[in-house]
Each structure stands twice: as structure tokens, then as C-alpha cells.
Symmetry: C2
Subunit: 201 residues, 2 copies
């Protein structure tokens, strides 16, 4: 059974990006180190991080089969030109299927119009025994509230934006969601990596 992991790079005050979409120094750590590596074979550009960051990322993301994202990320990246940034298939949660997307015929993208739960179910079925990466933000927040997330990874950058797009978005008040103590902690340069299991109560 596939496991779901929700993660992202996040400012110390909990934002994935500023209100205007800019990300400031959130990805400095991804290019300021001595150790060169690739997140997956498909990536063209390699990362250059500390050894600690490389080891954390490689130990956490071992086998991503599919990715679940929201419509905004899809639109902002134009679906990464039809090539998934990770995994073999992307499930896009959206109210309507985009018309005339130039890569629609060949890209391994599925547009899911009946909600986050359905998208995650389809992604898990596709993935088999691997990992389903659920984007933090609106989609991840809804999934977490629905009890559909197994692990959370936060790559915390020591910067405060003051306002922005939250990592834990679209949740609203409700029951406390308890996580384990962090099961992995790693200190990179301009990033602190934290991995949690979501407790099932």
C-alpha cells in the first residue's frame, strides 16, 4: 500500500511563497553546498548541497511513484512542460480539465475533478507500494485534515516573510492533528530538515 508524504521548503513563519508567488531565499540551500546529486534521474539540473541535506533528502524520498498537486502549481509551471518533476504520473486536483494544453496527448498527467480524496486514492492505486508525494499548501492541508497523510517533511529556511501562502493551508480550526516527535532531523546550510509521522488517533 502506497504511503503519502506531504512536504515542501518553508519559511520559518510557515510560508511556501510570498503572496505574489516569489520565493525569496527558500532554495539557497539547494545550490550552496559541495555535494552534487540529483533528486531523480529525470532531473536535468543537479543540486549542490551539504552532505547532511543530501542524505536527508535521499533517505526520505526513496521511491516516489506519483505526485498530487493543485491547479495553481500546474498553471504556474505549465505542468513542468508535461514531464513530472518527480514520480511517473501527476494527479492534478482541479475544478475543470484545462482545454488545449499543448502536452495533453502525451504527458502522464491525470486531471481529477472530484476532489483531493479521489486524487490521492487514484495516486495510491497507481503507485502500488511506493510513495505518493502530496504538495503542501491547499491540497496537502485538505488531505491532512481528511486523515490522508502518513508523513510530513518540512525543510525550514531561517527567513521570515511576514505574509504568504501557507504550508498548512485550507485547514481551518478543528481537531488537533498530532504528529510524532521528528523521526529525522538534519541541519543543512540555510535549511533545517524535519520529518514527522502523522499519528493516527
Amino acid at each position: 500500500m502506497a504511503r503519502t508524504i506531504m512536504g515542501a521548503v518553508v519559511s520559518l513563519d510557515g510560508y511556501l511563497a510570498k503572496l505574489n508567488g516569489e520565493i525569496g531565499p527558500l532554495f539557497e540551500w539547494y545550490d550552496n553546498g559541495d555535494v552534487e546529486w540529483r533528486f531523480s534521474e529525470k532531473q536535468e539540473e543537479s543540486a549542490r548541497t551539504t552532505k547532511a541535506s543530501k542524505e536527508f533528502m535521499e533517505s526520505v524520498y526513496t521511491d516516489i511513484g506519483a505526485v498530487v498537486i493543485g491547479r495553481r502549481l500546474f498553471d504556474e509551471t505549465n505542468g513542468w512542460g508535461g514531464v513530472p518533476a518527480a514520480g511517473d504520473r501527476v494527479f492534478v486536483v482541479t475544478h475543470s480539465v484545462p482545454r488545449n494544453w499543448e502536452f495533453a496527448a502525451t504527458a502522464p498527467f491525470t486531471f481529477v475533478t472530484d476532489g483531493v480524496e479521489s486524487a490521492i486514492e487514484q495516486a495510491k492505486e497507481f503507485t502500488g507500494d511506493g510513495q505518493v508525494d502530496v504538495a503542501a499548501g491547499q491540497v496537502g492541508g485538505q488531505a491532512l485534515r481528511l486523515g490522508l497523510i502518513d508523513q510530513v517533511v518540512m525543510n525550514v529556511v531561517p527567513v521570515v516573510f511576514g505574509a504568504g501562502r501557507p504550508f498548512f493551508a485550507a485547514m481551518g480550526p478543528g481537531q488537533d492533528i498530532l504528529f510524532s516527535n521528528p523521526t529525522k532531523v538534519a541541519q543543512g546550510d540555510r535549511v533545517t530538515h524535519l520529518l514527522y509521522d502523522v499519528r493516527r488517533n
Copy 2:
């Protein structure tokens, strides 16, 4: 010259409390360990934490001379019955001095009606070479935006509230505020302690 430190216990999604003021499991770590200690001689109740939490807290809070808080915390605690929870004097940022406070005649409390900057200035002058503890939230957020904070400590509890009163409040969009990499990290039980220096650019 006194140093200013802004800190608090905070949920993983960045809240000091829920919208209704409840704190859920934020202080479990303060009473779930084997090591007994007191934050200051004035405290009646001792903490029982892990050794790691005790050592972190004692190494960070070495010499609190004064505390700066907002009016809400003052009202919610009734000024801790006129006895500062830490430090020798409390500076309360408020629009108006409370009338008929029962402890007004004897309590070492100063009500500051001309803003956060003035309160911190007075607290630093009072403190001399020690630490001024600035409450996170509205007051701390304003002070951070004004460049008046030297260090930030976050005691992060692995719980997600979904909504609440933010640690970094009242900031709004603006220039990025960069911190150092954490200068101390400690893992307790149900809390991760992080200490940062605020960089001056």
C-alpha cells in the same frame, strides 16, 4: 547593552494558541520528563522535562531582566497577580493604562502607551546588560519588523491546529527578515527547540 529575545512555545503550523485561546498540548513537554528544574527562583511550580529541554532552556535564558508583553496577555493572566513570571519588571504595551488594577500600587509593572519601540527601549534601559524577553505574537512581530529583536527562540510542538494566534503576528508583507542558521537545536519529548540570531543586513 541589553539583548532582546523573542520566544515562545509554538505549534508546527506557527500558532501560540488556538483562536479561542486554548493551547491544546503545547506544554506537555514541560511536565512529561524526569528532570526537575525551575525556570527562576520565583517560580512556585517546577518543570519536569527531558535533560535536553532543561539544558536548552537554561542555556538560552541566562539573565532575564525585564519582560515586554501586550495587553491581551496582561488581561488574560491578570498580570500574573502582580508578580512577573520572569525578570524583575514587566513592560505592558497598551493603548490605555488599566484602571483600578488591584496590584497596581506594588507590582513592578510599567504600562507603556506610546508603542512597542518605547517599551523595548525602557525595558533595555531598566535591564542593563541582561536579557529583555519580548513576547511573541503581536508585540514580538512588530518589534521584529522594526529591527528591535536580537534572538528568536521557537519551541516547536508537533501538533497542527489549523488556525490560531500566530507567533509571527502583526507583521504583514515587507522585506525578508533573515536569521542565522540555528545556533542551538535540541530535541525534547514533544518539543523541538530552535535558537536563531537575527541577522542585521
